[in-house]
Subunit: 174 residues, 2 copies
């Protein structure tokens, strides 16, 4: 009698994993940095609060190509938490090769040099605490050292199945 | 002339951090384990996909008290991604001291022993890859070794400002 395999085959596991997380919604952020080679930024749906006191957040980088390569090694960066008004920004920074930080885009720099995008939510300047390799991805934990912006009445942005959503009375569960 | 402080004062930083993440929505999960002292489980809004191939997820534990203490040291556990049908479960496992795994609750165990809750979404059996201390919190990365359940047409669950939401055509941004 053949023993049952303890784990699901790898290919099917990846498909099942994608199906599972495909239905797991997430807030949306843009992470920007400049490691001396010019401003870079990426849209990320993996930013999560880790600790409020001291303030710490985490996110993961699935790829370390292009802009993500610079963010993977940056010691400081800015996490922009997006609102329902920031869909265009989210799309621009999610698309590989799209033109970013153009003259037409409303952005500036913090006194410390990191690129700061005009957007509806809070901007959190962060300093890296740890980088942990997980498969081909990188899990980054960072201390939040400066908070700016953020209107308290902004509608949030949610990412789900390649679509951006917002929340309100219409979406509340009983 | 006094130099400008480089960082915001700690107390106000924590308040600002809470305000920022208060408007950052998240998917909802229940993490269960049994380290030999009986089944435990907690509701978590920090579960994020880290890598699909190999399948890896991460989450953080802000407290290591009560049920979280057991999950912090468990080598394997089950991450239940919740759907809009799972509000009661989410509330029970979010409330410290609430009765869990009662006779009235629909749950079983995987062949490997971890508690498995009947719920609308996927259940991911995980094996810990790394634990990183971040402030007073713990950041856990884990390989997904088994996936079960999950209806493809389930409405998702989103947590935002202490309220559970779902998504649909009503919530799509243009």
């Amino acid at each position: 009698m053949t023993a049952q395999p303890e784990t699901t085959p790898a290919t099917s596991m990846t498909d099942d994993f994608k199906a599972a997380f495909g239905n797991h919604p997430a807030g949306v952020a843009i992470i920007t940095a400049d490691i001396g080679t010019g401003p870079v930024g990426i849209t990320a749906s993996s930013v999560a609060s880790v600790s409020a006191a001291p303030p710490i957040l985490a996110f993961s980088l699935a790829s370390q190509a292009g802009s993500a390569a610079a963010i993977a090694v940056a010691d400081t960066f800015v996490v922009h938490l997006l609102t329902g008004d920031d869909v265009e920004l989210a799309k621009i920074f999610a698309r590989p090769g799209s033109e970013r930080f153009t003259d037409a885009m409303d952005w500036t720099r913090l006194a410390t040099g990191e690129p700061l995008l005009a957007h509806g939510g809070h901007a959190l300047r962060c300093s890296v605490l740890s980088r942990t390799t997980a498969g081909s991805s990188l899990l980054v934990a960072a201390a939040v050292v400066e908070v700016s912006g953020g209107a308290t009445d902004s509608a949030p942005m949610v990412y789900h199945r390649r679509t951006f959503h917002t929340l309100g009375d219409h979406s509340k569960l009983p």
